[in-house]
């Protein structure tokens, strides 16, 4: 209202205005003082809603304060590499990166390692010698080991388990497909592509055969053969994190190098039988069929869980592959 309307002269006290205008003016001028800071809410005070949509908007404004964090670049890179099938960069054997300076992860990142393993295994599967059903499979050939480098090139070889032909040999499969080595009828070991294995000792004493290997980087699937004598023969694979001792089994060992962002480690998976895993800090695990243990290089608590699917497949493949003669 812009102003009061005049009343007839003599009616009442004379010309006067309706009170609404003044009342409105006084009300508008009456500003409530600001509350003291100690009582003031730290939050913006939403305006009263005039209708249901307004109320909904106010609530929405509040709910939008629940911001989700951006995923880390490390996670993005790992998932991207696995999802897009990009090759996983491998660190050269023996060229381990420095231990990371950041504190170890609070819990094992199984998902990350599984993804890396999937990517690596996909690479091996599609580029390796066991790619298709029409693949005739490995042709076993007997070699006379001479103690020098055995460069795996999609082949399978048998060496005499009683000889020390491979003692001291370094076996590499970098960029050359996988390789299977059978030690007589006692053991066979499959190196996936990009793996390095040092055969530190092949020895026999009366009634006992011993094979000790050192794996720095890569994937290894091992199987005992019909000639393996439980309790007498000894097969061990050592990694920077620990040692795996076989009791008659099919099992896999995957060694992951450290990266600047995450600790590496050794994953031991067992398909049949039992393997003993001992780490460098005195911890030990008896890993039975269908179970796996991951020992971290940075000393984080080892993780036990069922064998992840990507690790299961190569063990089954080796278990079902044609056996060397004499097996």
């Amino acid at each position: 209202m812009s102003g009061g309307k005049d009343l007839p002269f003599g009616f009442g006290l004379g010309p006067q205005r309706e009170p609404e205008g003044e009342f409105e003016r006084v009300l508008n001028a009456w500003q409530a003082p600001e509350p003291p800071a100690s009582l003031r809410s730290p939050f913006p005070v939403p305006q009263p809603a005039e209708d249901s949509a307004g109320a909904a908007r106010s609530l929405g404004m509040l709910l939008r304060g629940f911001e989700a964090p951006e995923p880390s670049a490390e996670l993005r890179a790992a998932v991207r590499a696995a999802f897009l099938g990009a090759p996983v960069a491998r660190v050269q054997a023996g060229a381990r990166t420095k231990p990371r300076s950041t504190p170890p992860a609070r819990r094992p990142r199984w998902g990350l390692y599984s993804l890396l393993a999937v990517a690596a295994l996909l690479l091996v599967w599609f580029a390796g010698p066991w790619r298709s059903a029409s693949d005739p499979g490995p042709v076993w050939s007997r070699v006379a080991g001479d103690g020098t480098l055995l460069d795996g090139a999609n082949r399978s070889v048998v060496v005499d388990s009683t000889s020390d032909a491979l003692s001291g040999a370094r076996v590499l499969t970098a960029g050359a497909g996988g390789l299977r080595i059978a030690f007589g009828d006692r053991f066979q070991v499959e190196l996936t592509e990009g793996s390095a294995l040092d055969v530190s000792a092949v020895g026999t004493t009366p009634g006992q055969f011993e094979l000790a290997m050192v794996g720095e980087q890569g994937g290894y699937v091992l199987q005992t053969g019909p000639g393996f004598r439980k309790g007498q023969d000894r097969l061990s694979l050592r990694t920077p994190e620990g040692e795996v001792t076989v009791r008659g089994t099919v099992f896999a060992v995957d060694r992951y190098a450290d990266t600047p962002d995450s600790a590496g480690g050794t994953c031991v998976c067992c398909l049949h039988g039992m393997v003993e895993v001992h780490d460098q800090r005195g911890g030990s695990w008896n890993t039975g069929a269908g179970r796996s243990v991951f020992v971290f290089s940075d000393g984080s608590e080892a993780a036990e869980r069922p064998v992840p699917e990507p690790h299961h497949r190569p063990m089954v493949r080796l278990d079902q592959a044609p056996r060397p003669s004499g097996w």
């Binding site: 909904a56 509040l62 998932v79 609070r106």
Partner: protein, 217 residues
């Protein structure tokens, strides 16, 4: 003006835009695992999926693990995906099922029981020296309180609410993702909003009910 179901005022607060539902050609290429389509899909869905899982789980490590697992399951199941069908519900179905599996897992239940026990003990200890509402309001960030209110929603309501409000899925898409009818999903969303209004009413300093009164059906 014609209102779509999503523009009705009873749909509650306006949701955020979600990840794009790729074109039919892109979806067909994705189902063939075409490298370029895989990359486009990854770029479009990586962050939304991670943030969805984080909001559902409230834990970075679990969100990271499930993000990886979700993408691996998507990759494995692409050949079963029908490109004629929308992509977003299919993707979020996979992620939601993984969240459910985690919630139902024994370790997760045990961890939650432990947390609840700690909360109960903490509340008892806290009871005698509880600060007034102003101190509570000053001591906690709004975002934390909203996060807690969302986390306190029952799982079915939380799934529906997060998919709708933060991921921008339509009710129809959510219905496909959670295998319920659209009507049921709308009711869940409505109940979620009502519970949030109640839980966050203390953020209404004037007591004017600004968080109340929103008519949601």
């Amino acid at each position: 003006m014609t209102q779509t179901p999503e523009s009705r005022s009873d749909a509650g607060p306006a949701p955020r835009p979600g990840p794009p539902d790729l074109s039919t050609a892109q979806r067909a290429a994705l189902a063939r695992r075409d490298p370029r389509a895989l990359e486009e899909f990854f770029e479009a869905y990586f962050t939304p999926l991670y943030q969805y899982l984080w909001r559902m789980l409230g834990n970075v490590h679990q969100a990271e693990d499930l993000t990886q697992e979700t993408f691996m399951q998507i990759h494995r199941n692409l050949e079963r995906y029908d490109p004629a069908r929308p992509l977003r519900p299919w993707v979020f179905t996979i992620a939601t099922n993984l969240v459910r599996d985690l919630w139902r897992s024994a370790p997760h239940r045990a961890a939650r029981s432990a947390e609840e026990l700690e909360d109960a003990v903490g509340r008892e200890r806290f009871e005698e020296e509880r600060p007034g509402p102003a101190a509570v309001a000053e001591g906690r960030e709004v975002g934390d309180q909203v996060a807690q209110a969302v986390a306190d929603l029952p799982e079915a309501l939380r799934t529906t609410f997060v998919l709708r409000f933060y991921q921008g899925l339509s009710f129809e898409e959510i219905a496909q993702a959670v295998e319920r009818t659209e009507v049921a999903v709308r009711k869940r969303f409505s109940r979620a909003l009502e519970q949030l209004r109640q839980d966050l009413a203390h953020l209404d300093p004037g007591g004017q009910g600004f968080l109340r009164g929103g008519k949601v059906h």
